[in-house]
Amino acid sequence: MTLWQSVLDPFGYDFFVQGLVAAVLAGALCGLIGVYITLRGMSYIGHGLSHAIFGGYAAAPLLGIPIVLGAGAWGLASALAINAITRARRIGADAAIGVVTTASFALGVALLTRFGTKGPAFDALLFGSINGVSGGDLLLLGGALVFAVTVFTVLYRAFLFSTFDPEVADVSGVPVRRMDALLMLVLSVSVLATLKIIGVTLVAATLVIPAVVARMLSDSFSRMLWISTGLGAVAGAVGMYLSFQLEIPSGTTIVLVNAVAFLVALAVTGGRSLRRAAGLHDHTDLPAPTALVGAGR
């Protein structure tokens, strides 16, 4: 077999092609939503939400509910629970995420260990897998991407304003609380749709790294959206290809490709871009409650 043949060999397998398409869609989706997540300082919630959805993944079949529906509702309920706990201001957002999502993850592990899984294998859920990407999965990913693109296009200005300055956006008539809830919905759907490809433990990296690289390369919000989405898609494709060739879980290779992109961007642009990216909120707050409760008395 020539080198060229061995390079093209994976494309002869239907499951690889399906996996590749899924990885491109998943990478693009995570890259797109990642811009909003990182600029709002919500990086940790992507990590938490994927763990929370894992609980729903395990519980849904036992309750006789379709996995997508059950896990999606579980994830959204977790996000809203975190939101509600945070708004009550008894504990911080980071602690709320820690409590809700790790408890949900632990429940998922317990259920899968005790009763087994009717869906993807345990390790595939944790680290992603090239195997078993169905037409339904592609449909879910495509639908999630169309949903996210539609939301962020139609509400581009309102999301930009509420991400930059939620306090003034609220005063200016932007329904910031509803925007926050909608972002949670888009994030939940996206994490759910990408879980099989990227895995519970690695979704957060695919949300964060393309957006951070985009911030390093651009001072423009709209360009950030394009760069992050494109990088996510490319990293998905390359990562999936490497996953097949190296026989490593797909989530792992996709994240590693993203990490290499980060290092290349750092090497090319130097410390200046890193300082720019440092302006991304590094706290774990949810979108600021718009009632401005307790701020700056």
Binding site: D165, E167, S172
Partner: protein, 262 residues
Amino acid sequence: MNRLVSPPGPLVTVTGVSFGYDRTPVLLDIDYTVEPGEFTGIVGPSGSGKTSLLKLLLGTVRPQRGQIQRQPGLAVSYVPQLETVNWSFPVTVAECVLMSRSTRRLVPWATAAEKADVTAVLERLGIAELAGRHIRELSGGQQQRMFIARALLRRPRLLLMDEPTSGVDIGTRHEVLHLLDDLNREGLAIVLTTHDLNGMAAHLPHLVALQRRIIAAGAPREVIVPEVLEQTFGARMDVLQHLGMPVVVDSGEPAQLRPVAG
């Protein structure tokens, strides 16, 4: 900007309002009206309730007791403290100003009319040449002008500003206050918070001294007097006269603190 014409009557009327966070009272029995075309500085130390009063006027928090009435259809704009802004956020000056139009259209890009409006308001504030710059590249005075431009794009009749002179140098403070004075002359009502007494005395025709309650309200010469300042700031201060304006000097003596009831 054309001179604003307001219907008769106060823009906002605050009657017997008390407000707090959880069980901590922040404002007690506040009676206050914002009249068309007024230019008022709310002065008081940190924790005196200045920002809370501003939020009540904005309508982003609700009073625990009392009533707040706004003129029907009143357009209010708000300028936040510069210190609260993420200056690394990836937007240009023009994009930031255009945010004011976020609720009107569902297309991402700016229309020709919107671009013209943004250019006009930036020209009015003398920063049109900065439209394409990243917001991080602006000086303190330019940052304040950009936010005022964003506020003006909504064509408000009342502009509320939180500590517009906080963290800026003296030159920028004068620049901002002169600009606000010009806007006020065109009919825009402005209420701002500050703990910068001397800067306000020289520029603002009306002050409100706040320490959970309204201690005094009126012209600077009526508000900037030792008794009011001691009640408001909990410290004795001397007041000198310079070119007909009161100037506050810290006397260095400990205050006889009087607890505020409530």
